[in-house]
Subunit: 183 residues, 2 copies
């Protein structure tokens, strides 16, 4: 009698990004076919010290490219922004977000956008959780010890939101092309 | 008697960019040591047809990289944005601007920002000129025939603003490092 064929468990690496004009959180997780999550990497890139705003953007771009080269994620989740305090801060945030998205897209990785409420729903079970809850739950879900910087926690959270969404899409069998154009 | 040494006239290629979430104007000019301008290239990249906003940003990034590879400018001028209609349009514009700046900066080219009034002052002699005047003066200053698309005209105008500024900086002898950090 031959041993039954057990398909190998496949894992997917996801990069999550929480862009900001002062600090950009970047997190990488791995998810397997059973939906099990594991932590790969996280950081918060502080760019306020760069001598000009274009150099801040270049720094975000370069850091995201370097992290992708080092950890080779194949999918990306990024938080969709609805509102900013005012037009000036929206413009700054938009530029940081544009830099991060270009870095990911220039490596041939598809970018998926999630609303803040979707991200919170995925990691704290409610669309209205606060920052401290998100930080706490990242530690629980990914088995991290010690305090986690808030932007890095948000980046890991949006990566997890993408891991959940891709799993439910796979279950109901929505074709990949429809998924891509949904945004 | 030997022929007196005449230094060769050096030219500098400048890329000017007028970013937008619908259309991004890109213009390239050449300026020689005597301040004489000549037209090299211009286009307006329409991105509204892309299936998602991240793909719009990728398209802007790719087009700017391709145009730099083809025409090899060494300096860049881009319009500084002060105000947008509202936070939502500021966010979209900011992302397009971030994509364009990253494309330039990733090619090792320094980005110089100019206020809209500085750009208009440079090309129509007043900070309060309108779009039609800018379009008209681009034709006059660069010897272009026929109508010029408005975003392409704005891109050429910011390139000219940079050509003027670098010339006055050279005349008064401000060291290059101070210039770089002025912004």
């Amino acid at each position: 009698m031959s041993t039954p064929h057990l398909p190998e468990s496949r894992t997917t690496r996801i990069i999550g990004i929480d862009p900001g004009s002062q600090r950009t959180g970047i997190g990488i997780i791995e998810v397997d076919d059973a939906g099990r999550l594991s932590h790969v990497f996280h950081t918060a890139v502080a760019v306020a010290g760069e001598p000009s705003f274009p150099l801040r953007l270049k720094r975000i771009f370069d850091e995201v490219c370097d992290i992708i080269a080092a950890h080779r994620p194949t999918e990306c989740g990024i938080e969709r922004v609805f509102m900013a305090r005012n037009a000036d801060s929206a413009l700054k945030l938009g530029q940081a977000r544009g830099a991060a998205i270009c870095a990911v897209a220039s490596q041939g990785i598809e970018v998926h956008e999630y609303a803040p409420t979707e991200v919170k729903q995925a990691v704290v079970g409610s669309g209205r959780g606060d920052k401290t809850q998100v930080q706490h739950m990242m530690g629980v879900l990914l088995g991290l010890k010690g305090p986690l910087q808030a932007d890095a926690a948000d980046a890991l959270a949006v990566a997890i939101a993408h891991a959940h969404t891709r799993a439910s899409i796979a279950r109901v069998g929505i074709p990949r092309t429809a998924w891509r154009r949904r945004r």
